[in-house]
């Protein structure tokens, strides 16, 4: 079982999330440096962070007839929802809160990104930006249901929506092993709600940056941070859902959580660089014709196993 409610976890969870997201950015930058033939080292890893101070002091962009309130709301929503989602993600034996509906909470926070990104696209009163927002909704209609069925598979296996119970229920056999389709659909969902790699369509280069096209300065920093925070949060949630949480031989549970989270994060960073961007119209059909039937069949497996127990 996990222990919830210590006051310091309220500070530690966002801190850890930021560190993990920064590690993912650094890892991505190192791979960038390798691909570009630059020396692989600390200089390559810190390269993306050199832009942070400049972004903080940059003048925010103003556009004619912008909807400033909605724009700022959308930009802030993405990283804030990512941080809120980690409140229910146990790390080792500790968690900020372990409500009886933890899985639904994570999903609800993830869906807030829909609203955030659409608003971030709508606010600046710019065509490319708006199209980027609409692209995320189209992508959302494709990735969301397989992701939900993946979450439902894990919850059905443990007969609980409490994340701590789901981690504890995988005693001996990880859900990733006997629910591989759900695990794969979940990881694809993580890349999709962080709109990175193959799912970078809303912020596509073919659209002059899409939702990122008009944001500048601190706003841009927040939106970019939101992507990587979501990637880190999704990787951290994969551990209790599919990889047995902090359970493991020898090491303490926090160390196992850290190792597993870093492995999932590393895998995601590697994958997001390997795959080309998928257009939403293509992915929607693939999701509805292939992924949804597969994930529904996957959700049936733990249901039948539990009935037969």
């Amino acid at each position: 079982m996990v222990e919830a409610g210590a006051w310091w976890t309220l500070l530690a969870a966002p801190g850890l999330l930021v560190v993990l997201a920064a590690l993912a950015v650094a890892g991505n930058a190192v791979l960038d440096a390798r691909d570009a033939g630059r020396p692989v080292g600390v200089a390559g890893a810190v390269r993306p962070f050199l832009g942070v101070p400049r972004a903080l002091v940059a003048q925010p962009r103003r556009l004619p007839a912008q909807d400033r309130l909605l724009w700022r709301t959308g930009v802030v929503t993405v990283p804030v929802a990512a941080v809120l989602s980690t409140l229910v993600v146990p790390f080792g034996g500790r968690v900020v809160a372990d409500p009886s509906v933890g899985v639904v909470w994570f999903n609800a926070m993830e869906v807030l990104t829909w609203a955030g990104l659409w608003l971030a696209g709508w606010g600046p009163n710019a065509a490319f930006s708006l199209i980027g927002g609409y692209r995320f909704l189209a992508q959302g209609l494709a990735y969301e249901l397989p992701l939900m069925f993946a979450l439902i598979s894990a919850a059905t296996g443990a007969e609980s929506l409490r994340v701590g119970d789901i981690a504890a229920a995988q005693d001996g056999l990880w859900y990733a092993v006997w629910m591989p389709v759900a695990f794969a659909a979940y990881l694809a969902g993580v890349l999709a709600f962080s709109f990175l790699g193959p799912f970078a369509y809303p912020a596509g280069r073919d659209l002059a940056g899409g939702v990122l096209g008009e944001v500048s300065g601190a706003d841009r920093l927040l939106l970019q941070a939101g992507r990587w925070l979501w990637l880190a949060s999704g990787a951290a949630m994969a551990v209790p859902l599919f990889l047995g949480g902090g359970a493991g031989p020898g090491l303490p549970s926090w160390a196992w959580s850290l190792v597993k989270t870093l492995l999932v994060l590393g895998l995601l960073v590697w994958v997001l660089r390997r795959l080309p961007v998928v257009r939403a119209d293509r992915y929607v059909e693939f999701a509805w014709v292939v992924l949804i039937p597969l994930t529904i069949a996957q959700a049936l497996v733990p249901a039948l196993v539990n009935l037969g127990r």
Partner: protein, 189 residues
Amino acid sequence: MGTTDTVLLAALGVLAQVFGVLVFTLNSMARVTFSLLASLVCVGGVTAVLGLPYLGVVIVLMMVMEMVIMAVFMIAYMMNPAGLMPMSMLHNKRGALATSGIVFVALVAGIFFVPWPDRTASRPRDTTFQVGRALMAEQMLTMVILGFVLLATMVGATVLATHRGRYDRFGDDLDQRPAQDPAGGGVGR
């Protein structure tokens, strides 16, 4: 219910009302849609505070998805989506005022005049399980039928709305492969 919960309940209730009023007073359709979303999120919070966390969080989850998709249609079909000109969402003002006034008085009267039963059993620790039982145990048949009706409605509405049929896709003899679609899908049907 403790003091914190009562304060939270009152604050969320008032906020839900405020955002509800904004729905009818703002000019921009995007702002109207997201005021309605904020109001419904507050309602989800009220439900969670009242001891039904599952329903509360699911309301937030569903309403965010629903209202964001609705924003697309509201902006596509309504006049003045960006609020650059004043507009009014009010229609049939006198009739609406009378109806809403009567409904409000009836509901408030109900609070005071209905003989509410006293709680006999102790409060369950986790209401999620009770909600699941209430919906899925005795009412399983209802839920299954409801599910099929909803699915049939969605499929039927889509079929009625699309102007292209299988002859447009596969040709007059239904032998044209791959299908001729305006936008190519991902699995090459």
